[in-house]
Structures are given as C-alpha cells and as structure tokens.
Amino acid sequence: MNRRSFFVMFLCLVIPISLLVGKTIELQFWTHEDPNRTVIENRYIEEFQKMYPDVVIKRVTQSSTKIQELVLTAFAANQGPDIFNMSIEDEYAYIVNQRVASVNYEAAGYENKEALINAYLPGTLDPVVFEGEIYGLPLEITNWCILLNKKVFKDAGLDPEKDYPKTWEEMVEVSEKLTIREGQIITRRGFDFRYPYYLVAFIPMVEQLGGKLISDDGKTAIVNDEAWLKFLDFMAAWGPNGLNLGSPTYKNARSLFNMDNNDIGMCTTGLYQLARIKADNPAFYDSREWMVVPFPQFENAVNYVPAHYYGHYYMVNVQKPKENQEMAWKFIAFMLSHPEEYLDKVAIIQPTNELLESDTFKNYPYSDVFISDLEKSTVVYFSEYSAKIQSLVKEAVESVMLSNASSRDALNALRRKVQEVLDDQY
C-alpha cells in the first residue's frame, strides 16, 4: 500500500511535469475484449511507438457488454479516452452530441473526403456521416448468416447441402425435424434465433413482409400492421407455448455450436464465428462438418432483406488537444492498414475495396455467402434511442412468445411505446 501510494504520488508529480516539458503524447485507447485482436494490436502499438517515439499508447480492454457504461461515464465526466470503438448504435449519440472529432483526412492518409469514401465499400461509412462530415473509421462491418452443423442434419436424415432452409417456413419444418426433446425440455435445438439483437436479426424479417419499425420520415412508429402481426404470430408459434422450438432463455447457441455436442443444428452469426470455431474446436473446424447459408426469407416476402449489418467504428474524442487528435487518427489509420491480418487472425471484415477484392478475402471460407448477403443488406437502425427501441421490440416478442399475449396487444403496446420515444425527441 505504501509503495502504491508513493507510486501514485510519484505519477501525479511526474505526469504533469512531463506534460509541461512537452513532447510526450499519451493516447488512451479503450476497446472491447477480443483476444485475437489484442495480440495483433499490441504489436501495432509497439511498431507505431517506434515510428513516433514521443507517443505512448495505453490500450484498455473491457468486456463488450460493459464498455458502454465505462465510456459513457467517462465522457459524461469529460474524461473520455482519446480513441474508442463500440457498436454503431452505441456510438451514434457521441456523433450527434458532438463529442467525437470528424476524421482528419490527411492524418489518416487520405487526400480528402472523397478519397476516403472511395476507399470503402459504398454505404459502409454512411452510419458515421453527420452534417456532411465523417466521424469514424470502420474496425469491422459485420452481417449475419446462418451457420449449420452438417452432422446434426445427417443425424436427422437430412442432406445439408439440399435441405438447408431457404425460407422461414422451411426453417420451422427443418427445425422440427432436428429438434430432440425430453418431455417439454429441448435437448437439441434445430435453430437458435439471436435473441438480444432484435434490430439486426428480427427487424429484417418484418421488412421482408413489407413492414417497418419507423416510417421513412422518422415520425411514425410501426408501419404495416399486417406484416408485424405475421411476424409476431411466427415468433409465438416458434416459442414454448407453440411448437416449442426454442426460447430466449435457452443458452445462446453460438458457443454451444463450436463445441459440436449434437445439441444445436443452426445459429445466426457472422464471419468472425469461424475464427472462434477454429480456436475453440480445431478438430471440428478442420472436419468441415459445418457450412454457412444465406439469411432466410419469408415465402411470400415482398422485399429481399438479409440480416442488417452493423459496424464498429474507431472514434476520436473531440475534447482532447489537437495534437492528440491528429496522432490518434494517424494511429487508427496505421492499425487499419492491416485489413488482411484482421481478416486472417480475427475474421473481421474491414470493408475497404482493396480487401474485398483481395485473394485473401476471396479464398476465405464462405466469404462469398457473407458478401453476397452484405451487398443486399442495409445498415441496422441506429439513433440516439436505438438501445431503448431495441428493448421495446424485445419486450413485444417476449410477450407473445413467453407470456401468451396476443400479437395484436403486443403490437399496440409496442407502437405506443416506440411512438412515445419518437415524440420525446422533439
């Protein structure tokens, strides 16, 4: 303790002095935990510090479910980090409230804004454009497809290559065949929805049927009741009071899938999952007893809508001194100059045209399935209120799946609550 407090006093003295003396720039870089990224980014930090000996970069990781609180509290206290990244739904409020800096194009190595836009797959920077400026650079853009276990299919007498579900109706049929129960308790699920992520993985289902969460002018909640009711009926039929094919309270399937324990047939996930299978269960990965298929559509869908994509963008705190901001963009650009390594080691896609056209990407297993969905996909709904709206959609789906509420009542409650959020903005 004594040594520690001495150390703290020492730091309190030394940091201001060294700042006065002048040259060192310390950059706080907060990000979510991802072991594969930590390894390569620590190396980038080392290399970068060698290139700029007067820069010190402190990389801090937090659990991905907890980083929102940490960043938010720090910013609320005007003590935010220099660099951070979160999912766009969480980051958007920082742009709207002018807490982050627009990209310093030169520092990031681009001639101007157009050069930056042209370097990326069209549309992938849209979520961070605000009043004509760009406020972040994508660490990853992710869309979800369906990952399936061929052994489970074969075990149920199905041919995965032919019988994989193309529509949601087929999803029900196939899942019914894959499901094993002991009484009411499911011991092998055919398919697991990705429950907490309603905006990414469920709203597209509504949109396939022609419905919308919020009208295009942003003023009215819930467009096209019929589409919504059909979607809610579908979910109610899926749940424990209907066909009993699964529910949000079963352990989510992504990690179970990697274990290959004959307890899950299919799950919703992104390309990054492949790297995790490789790490968790190399034998299963190498056996290639798994495959990726596109996001299903409803039989009578009026729009083709794959899962929405979401992104993580690196952002820079606008309250930091100009030289910190400039150095932060230089460092971000330096990290992002390794998209192939990010793909190879972490299996995340940085949507630069250069990467998407590279052989590394094209040779990556099932990258064609993901990219074909991604090209048709639109970005997830994001606003300052998206987290709240997502929890309202969750509430509606849960009430029909678990509490036997009628789809009509659930929809009316959802409309009222979302409308209240929209009205509250003005």
Partner: protein, 304 residues
C-alpha cells in the same frame, strides 16, 4: 458549582462526540451528500448524459412524467413484489435458522459457515452458476421434476413472468439468508444467559421462553435485520440485471434500480433517472421511518 462542573463535563463530552463523528461526516460529505444533492439538483433538469449544451431547468416535470408513466408504476410494482417476497421470508427464516443453530450443541460452526457460504461468492459468480442451473436443461428443472414427480416438464424458470419473479427471489434468498442468520446469531448471543435461567426457574417452557424472552429482547437485532434487508431488497439490482441480460423478460422484474440504470445508461436521460432515484430515496426513507416508529411503540427505548 456542581451544576457548572456537570455542564463542563457535558460540554467536554459533546466536543468528543463531534470529534468521533467528524471523520465519517467529512467522508460522507464528499462521497454521499454531495452526490445525493447532485442527483436532486439534476432531477430538476432536462439533461442528457452526452450533451454539451447546458441542461434546461424544467422544475418538477420529470417527476410529473414518472408519476404518469405506466412503465414507472410497473417498476414500483416489481420492486414491491420482490421486496415483500424476499424480505419477509428472510426475516422469518433467518431468525428460525439462527435459533435452531444456537440450540445445537455441536456443528454450530459448520451450519453457520454452510448457510453463509453463498454470501461470500461474488454476485457475478452466483449469477453464472444460477443461469446454468435455471437453464431449461439445468438442475432446477431436474430437481423440480424429481421432487414433484413430473417428467420432462419445463418450469420456465426464466421465461414466464411469475417464475422469473420467483427465481430472482430464490437467488436473493439463497445468497443472503446466511448473512442475516449471522446477524441474528450475534443478537441471540447478546441476550444474557441469566435471563433464560430465570425464565427456566419460573417454569417457562422452551417455546414460551423463545416467544416471551428471546423475541422481545431481539428487538434491536430485528430492527437492524428488517431495515437492512428491506433496504437491500429495495436496492436490488445485479440479479435482475444479469437475468434480463440472459434472455429473461424485463417487465416482471424491471425493478426501480434497473429502470434507473436503463434510463441513465441506455437512454442517457440522466435528469429522469435522477428523479427516479430521488423517488426511490423517499420510499426507502419512509419505510425506514415507519420501522423505527413501529419498533419504538413497544417502549423499549433502550434497545433502539
């Protein structure tokens, strides 16, 4: 002369009293009073966490909004269901268990440790264990099916509204029953042995002794336990938070603190979250006052 002397002593005592109290008061000033006052002040403004614009003063509008909001009333309901459902069983069972343990000649230590052991696990550890147990394929369903003689029934521990309420209460009860048993044991031990002996000489039986001697004399401990457990229940957060994070429906267990947290952290609406905190604060103050009052009506000023 004597009076002056006495006054001098009192004066000196008062000075020492302040001296003993002062360090804590200074501490609370910085780490409790300032934040409370800050929350009260913030509750009168429309303020968003990330906004750099100065917050707008709106008087009691946040309170008005809350009192009209069905969502907030649902939270009040969820909080009271949880509090009553937890606090009364804890009070009764911790006293019973403490009395049972103290009535044993052997293994006192073992039972105390066994009952207390869940309390030493961190909440996140407890949540990790219970989420596995309450999974449809977990021990909870197996145990319930075994005990109730059913087969393959899914009791929907985390899914149906009533069961998820029950599960939060169960986890909380499991975690804290030992804690309050220990406090009761300290209280039971403080009852002078001579009183029990006197009662025995007067011919009081075991239960009579328990009702007429033990329970009244335990009053200070009961006040302590009931206030503590009630306040803790009203402030409950982590179990509900972790359950909803793992797929349990929010509405039945959307207790006030969880609502405060979501309003502040998820919706960035710090003004409204502060107003909610102040309302919760007033509710707790009221119930604490009520319990003090109830405990005093017995006339045992000495013990409280």
């Amino acid at each position: 002369m004597r009076r002056i002397l006495k006054k001098g002593i009192e004066h000196k005592k008062a000075r020492w009293g302040w001296f003993f109290v002062l360090p804590s008061m200074a501490f609370f000033a910085v780490f409790s009073f300032y934040p409370i006052v800050n929350a009260l002040y913030t509750s009168l403004f429309r303020k968003r966490l990330l906004s750099l614009r100065p917050p707008t003063f709106i008087g009691l509008e946040n309170y008005e909004y809350l009192l009209k909001s069905p969502d907030f009333w649902n939270s009040i309901k969820a909080t009271f269901i949880f509090t009553l459902g937890t606090f009364i069983p804890i009070l009764v069972f911790s006293l019973l268990l403490a009395a049972f343990i103290m009535s044993r000649k052997r293994f006192q230590k073992f039972f105390q440790m066994a009952f207390y052991s869940p309390a030493v696990l961190s909440s996140v550890v407890a949540a990790a264990i219970w989420l596995l147990i309450l999974d449809p394929r977990g021990l909870a369903n197996m145990g319930a099916n075994f005990l109730l003689g059913t087969k393959g029934v899914d009791y929907k521990w985390l899914a149906s509204a009533n069961m998820v309420r029950f599960s939060t209460i169960l986890v909380y009860f499991w975690k804290y029953i030992g804690y309050f048993t220990i406090i009761y044991i300290t209280g039971l031990a403080s009852i002078p042995q001579s009183l029990h002996e006197a009662a025995k000489i007067d011919g009081a039986s075991g239960w009579k002794d328990f009702w007429h001697i033990t329970i009244p004399l335990l009053k200070p401990t009961t006040v302590l336990v009931s206030i503590m457990s009630m306040l803790q229940c009203l402030k409950t957060f982590s179990t509900q938070y972790l359950f909803t994070q793992s797929g349990a429906p929010l509405e039945p267990i959307n207790v006030i603190t969880l609502n405060i947290y979501n309003t502040a952290i998820r919706d960035h609406n710090i003004g409204r979250a502060s107003a909610m905190s102040i309302i919760l604060f007033i509710i707790m103050l009221f119930f604490t006052w009520l319990q003090f009052k109830a405990s005093r009506s017995g006339g045992e000023v000495d013990y409280m």
